[in-house]
């Protein structure tokens, strides 16, 4: 039987890494097919080959029986294949409309018809259900909004095959739902959709079948999801069983460690106050643009504060300087891995030791042995997939980059408050469980931990207390016994009648 989209014997190697070995499987017309696997299993690599971004060493892709030979993304586009890449690929200085039609502007004799551009994009966005003015500059959008734009970019084109690489990693459930409806519609139109996600619920909600990769090999292929269970997929992915992924365990909650009082900033005009205690995991939930990331950046001193104060163990932390925060024991894993997290062009080891190295550098001279040991230790304990600690971090898969950033702060001595913004964004199930476990043991050591997440099950699964943000302020807080999905969601939804429209700078 020939499939609509068929991968046969795809192989791809990088120096020191066999990213894909001999991958073959097919997907029928009008089907949504999941692609699963641990971080670094080779999912994105497969998508990159499908999009013409990278070329396979051997093997071939067939669409409707015809062999495809993509030399560039333009070739793939011409064959009506579009892709949402794992990392956002937008041009911040251009408008939403321009970004959506980049590479394919409506133009006569090279002159762009801006009216047509804006109208066309506007109507398509409305069609899809995205509420953004096409004339807004992308720079003014939040990550979540950008992600939606990125998805729109792929979906708007008249494609036969659409591949989505972790499209929901920075979407809240509300936007995710918009996306799922969209995918259902595309399925009805007979498109083939290849869907990558680390969220199993989504796979079961959306997919007609799925393929699991492990270490670049095909671990399992399910033509239908009938009879397939979660546990089965998890064990196919990680090679072992994970019974309770959250694994929450109670612990003693102590004194207030982090106290935020009346904090405000340019993009968060209303003052916000909250506290986190020793041993406590405080979850922050909210919809995209609720202001959680803004708040955490202010707490950390990444952006300059308007008013308010932050103190740790009763001692105030100087405003607007991450260094002061780090020295006071307050650290942040940022949400935007690419722009705020990784240091491109530098090794894994360098990325891990960037902050902590000052502790083992008498007179500023590095102890290379200690640095190497530190890096190797984390590569092992966090199971970071990399050929060596000397690998350039940009060559790591998304999830493994995230682990490196976490390792950066775990390496710091004397951390009292750990803020993690979307800590498991792009992290596979197995690693998620490990990270949660790590958070619990850190909390047990007496740290106060703040977790920002747009995944409601995650927030509810691991937090001792949840703060819900809406429109730039904390709308409600819930203690673990009071956790209730509907109540939390309700608190996150803005009261449409009372809320002022969100102002955007274009």
């Amino acid at each position: 039987m020939t499939h609509f989209l068929e991968f046969s014997n795809i192989t791809k190697g990088y120096p020191g890494v066999q990213a894909l070995s001999d991958i073959s499987f097919g997907i029928g017309k009008g089907r949504v097919h999941g692609l699963m696997g641990e971080n670094g299993a080779g999912k994105s690599t497969l998508i990159k080959i499908l999009s013409g971004d990278t070329r396979a060493d051997t093997g071939e892709i067939r669409i409707e029986g015809a062999a495809q030979n993509f030399h560039s993304t333009r070739d793939a586009f011409a064959a009506r294949v579009t892709v949402v890449h794992q990392e956002l690929q937008l041009v911040p200085g251009l408008t939403v409309a321009e970004n959506l039609r980049l590479g394919h502007f409506p133009a006569r004799a090279g002159i762009i018809s801006f009216r047509e551009l804006v109208e066309d994009v506007g109507s398509k966005l409305r069609d899809i259900g995205i509420d953004v003015d096409p004339r807004t500059k992308v720079a003014a959008l939040s990550i979540g909004e950008r992600q939606m734009i990125e998805i729109a970019k792929a979906v708007m084109q008249d494609a036969r095959v659409i591949a989505l690489d972790e499209p929901t990693s920075s979407l809240s459930s509300r936007e995710s739902e918009i996306l799922f409806k969209l995918i259902d519609r595309l399925r009805e139109q007979g498109k083939v959709i290849l869907y990558i996600s680390h969220r199993l619920d989504e796979i079961f909600r959306l997919c007609d079948g799925c393929t699991v990769l492990r270490d670049g090999r095909l671990a399992a292929h399910h033509a239908t999801m009938e009879g397939v269970t979660r546990d089965q997929i998890v064990s196919e992915m990680v090679g072992r069983e994970i019974s309770d992924i959250w694994g929450w365990r109670g612990r003693a909650i102590g004194e207030v460690r982090l106290k935020v009082a009346g904090l405000s900033g340019t993009r968060l005009p209303k003052p916000v106050s909250f506290e986190a205690r020793s041993g406590e995991i405080l979850g922050f939930f909210g919809l995209v643009g609720a202001g959680r990331s803004e708040l955490m950046r202010l707490v950390y001193g990444a952006d300059s504060r308007g008013a308010g104060s932050v103190s740790i163990d009763g001692r105030p932390v100087a405003a607007s300087d991450p260094r002061q925060s780090i020295r006071a024991g307050l650290v942040l894993c940022p949400e935007d891995r690419k722009f705020d997290g990784i240091v491109q062009g530098r090794s894994v080891s360098d990325n891990i030791s960037i902050s902590a190295r000052r502790h083992f550098s008498p007179f500023g001279i590095l102890d290379l042995g200690k640095e190497a040991a530190l890096a190797d230790g984390f590569i092992k304990s966090l199971r970071i997939r990399t050929p060596s600690r000397k690998q350039d971090i940009v060559n790591l898969s998304g999830g493994n980059q995230q682990k490196v950033i976490l390792a950066r702060w775990l390496a710091e001595e004397n951390v009292k408050v750990l803020i993690v913004d979307e800590p498991t964004r792009g992290i596979d199930v197995g690693a998620k469980a490990e990270i949660y476990d790590l958070l619990y043991s850190l909390a047990e050591k007496g740290l106060a931990i703040v977790v920002v997440s747009s995944e409601l099950p995650e927030v509810m699964g691991i937090s001792d207390r949840v703060a819900v943000m809406c429109g730039g302020s904390i709308a409600a807080t819930f203690d673990r016994p009071e956790f209730n999905e509907r109540a939390i969601l309700a608190a996150a939804l803005p009261d449409r009648s009372a809320a002022e429209p969100i102002q955007k700078v274009s």
Binding site: V83, Q89, P92
Partner: protein, 316 residues
């Protein structure tokens, strides 16, 4: 400052407004500045910088760099003269010069885009190679032109304004339009803003870079021809250091060296600031050595003002 004044000063067109104010102040305080003659002289003095800035804007906006412009200007001017002499036809001579400049630009583009050699090094190399060729082909001497109508390119006037100024204005209009209204212009900004995203979106990045450098070469040839006509000969030493002036003008005008940001109004203002600074210093009879210092301070001041502006813009 009242709110609305602040808004005007710090708004999108803030640079233009600041410039207009500075211009008014200079007009009122510097004798002989605001005369028709001086204005025309001033504009003529910025023709070379202004013309070359049009395409340098594209080059910088796409995150590239071109140091070879001065050499191309000098050599194309010489080619225009030599080819006119050799063929006995000025139009043919000009055509050959334009062809030559375009060719050098094309070579730059191909080397940079296809061989993936850093633009700074490539154009530093062609800057020297072309200058060397200019010196070799003329034995280091100025080449004169036999046909006096060649001078008319620069001396002729339309509505009382010399042709070179019109050419500059026309190029400002054309390239302003291209930047804002065409696929080419938007793709240029996209490449500068996020090369990876542009490539993935199907923009032919290599081809765009080749085109941008080719255009740069063409425009340098035009500037070179006008310059040769103004100085009535082709000189192998002309236009040294032009690259830095042009890049300064662009950066002054808000073109980002990190790519992705450019506007023709800014570039025009940048060019005029440089021209006015020179003009006023000479009108005020400021000593040559002090001119260096003043030039440096003006540069700093202009960028500082613009930074303050855009910073408070970001804070709104």
């Amino acid at each position: 400052m009242t709110g609305s004044l602040k808004r005007i000063l710090l708004g999108e067109q803030g640079l233009v407004v600041i410039f207009a104010i500075a211009f008014a102040v200079v007009s009122l305080t510097v004798p002989n500045f605001l005369t028709e003659r001086n204005m025309l002289g001033l504009l003529q003095s910025v023709v070379t910088i202004g013309i070359v800035a049009c395409t340098m804007m594209f080059c910088l906006a796409s995150r590239d760099f071109d140091l070879s412009v001065g050499s191309i200007v000098a050599f194309s001017g010489m080619v225009a003269v030599m080819a006119s002499n050799a063929t006995g036809s000025i139009p043919l001579g000009l055509l050959i010069a334009v062809g030559f400049g375009t060719f050098v630009g094309f070579v730059n583009g191909v080397v940079i885009a296809k061989l993936k050699i850093n633009a700074l090094i490539t154009t530093l190399a062609t800057m020297q190679i072309v200058r060397g060729l200019a010196l070799i082909s003329s034995d280091g001497r100025a080449v004169g032109i036999n046909d006096a109508s060649f001078y008319q390119l620069a001396l002729s006037k339309f509505l009382g304004v010399p042709t070179p100024i019109w050419v500059m204005v026309a190029l400002f209009v054309i390239f302003g339009f291209v930047l804002n209204r065409t696929v080419f212009g938007r793709n240029t900004l996209a490449i500068g803003g996020n090369p990876e995203a542009s490539r993935l979106a199907g923009v032919n990045v290599d081809w765009m870079r080749i085109w941008i450098f080719t255009l740069q070469g063409l425009v340098c040839a035009i500037a070179g021809i006008l310059l040769a006509s103004r100085i009535t000969s082709g000189q192998p030493n002309a236009a040294t250091g032009l690259e830095l002036s042009v890049i300064s003008a662009c950066v002054l005008g808000g073109v980002s060296l990190a790519g992705g940001r450019a506007a023709i109004t800014g570039v025009i203002v940048g060019v005029l600031i440089l021209g006015i600074a020179e003009n006023v210093m000479n009108l005020l009879n400021i000593q040559a050595f002090y001119q260096y210092v003043v030039r440096g301070l003006i540069l700093l001041l202009a960028v500082l003002l613009d930074n303050l502006r855009s910073r408070s813009l970001g804070r709104r």
